[in-house]
Amino acid sequence: MTEPRKFPVGGPIIEVRNVSLNFGGVKAIVDTSFAIREHEIRAIIGPNGAGKSSLLNCISGIYTPSEGHIAYRGEALKDNSPNLSARRGVSRTFQNLALFKRMSVLDNILVGRNLFARSNFLQVALQFPKARTEERENKAKCEEIVEFLEIGAIKNTPVAKLPYGLQKKVELGRALATEASVLLLDEPMAGMNVEEKREMCRFILKVNDELGTTVVLIEHDMGVVMDISDSVVVLDYGKIIADGPPDEVRSNQNVIDAYLGIAHE
């Protein structure tokens, strides 16, 4: 990037502090600490089963760390839940897609506007002006997102009928609809071809560039990671084995070993 960023990378917005996560006897995450700085694109990479999704789940409140905690804007979070996380401005997508199968593309994205739907059920039932205005405004915002992601043609299609790549896009749209300051994307490009990946990279960069959204993405494609991320953290067997700019990480011997399956200290 030759031009100065509109939203230069700032201080830590989310910090993982000495987090460990155990499931029965399985140690999914072991004493992990790293920071996610505001406005950056942070990649989390590592071999399968390294604990990446579990880490994301800890950050977004689905799992509670067995030890350690997550901090948001410097404050340690005492309780966290997906709900609280969303209200704090942290939204996400899921590795195995978690779209609302029986709803259309537009409706799925509209659910992302839930935080901006302040009318109660009575106002909705009786179609009070407040409810109608809200609905109109939320719909307009979602149409913007639909246009941005170039999925206008399928906006009324039930998502179950869409191919995988488009479903992934819709999920991104839903997360974008929350106007979150932090987006956690769990393998947003899995199963996509080169063209689709290029497109998703373009969207992610645009969102980060124009809105300043901090993006944390779990990704397997090293090309993508090198292209768009500002910094990378590498996980293996639940532990961090590298943390730094993409070039550094790529030439780190431990990282190379991990991906090749060679055990290391």
Partner: protein, 348 residues
């Protein structure tokens, strides 16, 4: 605006049928008293079931219990609050039922599926037991048959079948419109999100607690009003036994066969469950001249319902409403194809 031009046209047509066509064409009281009125009342209860199960995905077998709560609340209000307008009594019937709905909906915060279904059975059995055991609810009636009072609105008595039909149509229409609005708006989307992937719903800021309890409350409200209407315009009496587990199963079947998650499905399902036995009965009586035992007929009914449910679950889990949608789409598509064929081959 949640209503399209299509909706408005449909609405006007339906209202014309209800208020103009029917009263002039159908004069037989039997039709109103035994077919239309129970159909609308049960459809309203089925809408309640749709809200909690079809839209919000919470398995519930407590519909009849909430109906009973509504019916007996209405009875007691009219009895003890002299001059209370019927619509007000109905609203309170719904509210009392809604309170039970919230109470017995609490397990939904912890469990789902068959576990939740068993928990809702508690509400069904408890409410009926409570009404039965505490004489106060039945005004210490010992005859076992409590007659429902007359429906009086603004001093006018509505007692003939066609008058009661009008009352039911108005109430059901209003409540159905409210339900449609909710289902198409943010309320309905929250329900459906919780139904489809609750973790994702939560991650979008939806509160599972609020959404689930709200669904139970609204569902019970509809069942409560439906129960009061059912008792006052159809049964014309109040007996706890009329709201037993069998009715809960019937309402469950209505939404399954009619189509989970659609308002149409509630009406279609109610019509089917109500009319099929009537059809079977008349076939039995006319074709076989009463040679078939009543028990065989009711047994056949059960078998047919059971088979239909299994068949629908295998081939079209979204019920008759979806089937109808599919047929309409096929017809319109083949219609379009027909037009295309003619256009491209003008000599035909």
């Amino acid at each position: 605006m949640t209503f399209t031009r299509n909706d408005i046209v449909n609405f006007i047509v339906l209202m014309a049928i209800a208020f103009v066509l029917l009263p002039n064409l159908v004069t037989s009281e039997y039709w109103y008293a035994s077919i239309l009125i129970p159909w609308l009342c049960l459809a309203l209860a089925a809408i309640g079931q749709q809200v909690v199960m079809g839209y919000a995905g919470q398995l519930s077998l407590g519909a009849a219990g909430f109906m009973a709560a509504g019916a007996f609340t209405c009875f007691n209000l009219i009895l003890r609050v002299p001059g209370i307008p019927f619509p007000i009594a109905l609203i309170f019937s719904g509210l009392v039922a809604a309170a039970f709905g919230v109470l017995f909906g609490l397990p939904s915060l912890r469990v789902r599926g068959i576990y939740l279904m068993v928990a809702t059975l508690a509400s069904q059995f408890f409410i009926i037991w409570m009404i039965d055991k505490f004489g106060w609810f039945k005004n210490y009636d010992t005859s076992g048959i409590i007659t429902a009072q007359d429906i009086v609105i603004f001093g006018k008595e509505f007692s003939s079948p066609i008058e009661m039909f009008m009352v039911v149509v108005v109430i059901v229409t209003v409540l159905t419109l409210l339900a449609i609005n909710m289902s198409r708006g943010s309320t309905g989307r929250s329900w459906m999100a919780v139904r489809d992937v609750d973790i994702a719903a939560e991650s979008m800021g939806i509160s599972l607690l609020r959404t689930k309890l709200q669904a139970f409350a609204i569902s019970a409200f509809y069942c409560g009003v439906a129960g009061a209407l059912f008792a006052f315009t159809y049964l014309k009496s109040l007996e706890p036994v009329a709201f037993d587990i069998k009715l809960s199963f019937e309402i469950l079947f209505m939404v399954i066969l009619g189509g989970l998650g659609t308002i149409n499905g509630a009406f279609i399902g109610a019509a089917f469950i109500l009319l099929f036995p009537v059809l079977l009965n008349s076939v039995g009586n006319n074709l076989f001249h009463g040679a078939i035992d009543a028990t065989i007929i009711s047994a056949t009914e059960q078998v047919v319902f059971g088979v239909l449910i299994i068949v629908f679950m295998i081939y079209e889990p979204l019920g008759i409403a979806k089937l109808w949608e599919n047929i309409k789409q096929r017809l319109s598509r083949s219609g379009k194809e027909g037009v295309e064929a003619v256009r491209s081959n003008p000599s035909r």
